[in-house]
Symmetry: C2
Subunit: 304 residues, 2 copies
Amino acid sequence: MSPRLFLPTLLIALIPCAQSADSAAPAPYRSAGDIIEAAPPTAWRLPDPARLLYMELPQGRVVIELAPQFAPEHVANIIKLAQQHFWDGTSIYRAQDNFVVQFGDADADDPGKAKSLGDAKAHLPAEFHRPAAGLNFAALPDSDGWAPQVGFVDGFPAARDPKTGTVWPVHCYGTVGAARGNDADSSTGAELYVAIGQSPRQLDDNLTVVGKVLVGMELLATIRRGPAPSGIYENPAERTPIRSVRLASDVPKEQRTRLIVLRTDTDTFRDATAARRHRIDDFYKRSSGHIDICNVPVAVEVAE
Amino acid sequence: MSPRLFLPTLLIALIPCAQSADSAAPAPYRSAGDIIEAAPPTAWRLPDPARLLYMELPQGRVVIELAPQFAPEHVANIIKLAQQHFWDGTSIYRAQDNFVVQFGDADADDPGKAKSLGDAKAHLPAEFHRPAAGLNFAALPDSDGWAPQVGFVDGFPAARDPKTGTVWPVHCYGTVGAARGNDADSSTGAELYVAIGQSPRQLDDNLTVVGKVLVGMELLATIRRGPAPSGIYENPAERTPIRSVRLASDVPKEQRTRLIVLRTDTDTFRDATAARRHRIDDFYKRSSGHIDICNVPVAVEVAE
């Protein structure tokens, strides 16, 4: 076999179905890819275009799904900002390796130069967590060091504390959150960060998570890093310009990204995750029997 | 405070020392940065230049520390390959988002075009794990979903199973491993990968880890991704050329990268990790009381 292709999804050989049709025979192992490939149409969802942001960069489009179920006030503000074209002409002004990129108004801290938030609110409550009631929390059986329970809510990785009855989104690769100062309620949604490395779980329940990137992480993750420690560029010319940020529903239909997302409350998702937890194929010699919440991909398919 | 600077290391205010010198007063919180800043010289080590690789890319130098304590056969082969200038003129031919970049001979699979390994061995045993005996394993108190215990061995993140008495390196951001085919013993060290996203812990004890990147991850992590699913470039022009890979000890002293690495078996490292586990500062509103092995940085300081 190819010594350079160690990626199991490429190397998986279907286990030969030597078993008879005897109903006592165990079902052959199916990889996560096989399971998702065979998913019924009902296992997929079409994200609501009124909850999707398109960020247009010179490199291409980044699609962010907003999470009003976790941060209704921030999401309402973000939608208002997008509809006012707040981010047009702003930039990604920070890229810290193995942590985050951050975008918005690079002059937000300078009262003389900061862009007006227009009709958006200048002050919002912190939305770090919320009551579990009313959420469809699909728990993983896997232990987690950071929280009592982890799972998915409508495609978003999340944690739950049965004692307090609260749920909060967890920070994984692609999580979008609202930058703030020291005060818990100092974020407005105008300045946003995206996790680009190892999941920064220490931020969980400490910042307001507003959504996650569905498409285009490879554009954000490859942005040239700024200087240590914070990754904020010293020279404005190094920033990545943002052409525009629009709500998908405000973009003509023919210009929208056509995508579907695997539902995280389905048998398909549960079975695909189980297949990743217990890998049985020609490549893996040992299966961990475990998967971390931030190692569970939520499949997104983009039409050509 | 600045809404755009949410990085705690920038925002930490020293807790005012209102306490008297009374010995009963609790010690004021010191951040990981404060603790490392105050570390005695003995808390630092100079890596052995005979165990460091310099990979020269158009973007700059990547410094890799080899781990002969985990993979003696692979490391010996890699040193031989470097001394034969095997990688000069090869490339980074794969970049899969949120997974790995992979480098070496892009034609390794083509018997007609593959580069000769010269005096290096064409076959090595798998070196996935080893006996715990003889290793200085500094265990973390934190739980881990993937392994019974985790900690550090000579700066390398690792796992230990007390039942089997074995230790294996774990895959974190920056871990360097030997690509292989389906056979456990099909790696030679000529084709190497580096983890560039969320820690791919499912690879633990399934591949031979040969070292970790000490300097230059921001160069590898920003390499333009290849096409899904594997990230292998279709067009050779998209590959990142490798000018050379050399053992630091084979490079003139004045051209070496001068760096020091925090020892992971020191009070400084233990205290800095504890300060990250239990964050008490003006930024964090809630401390998790936990840290994941792959969220624990091992400080590297590079002289100008």
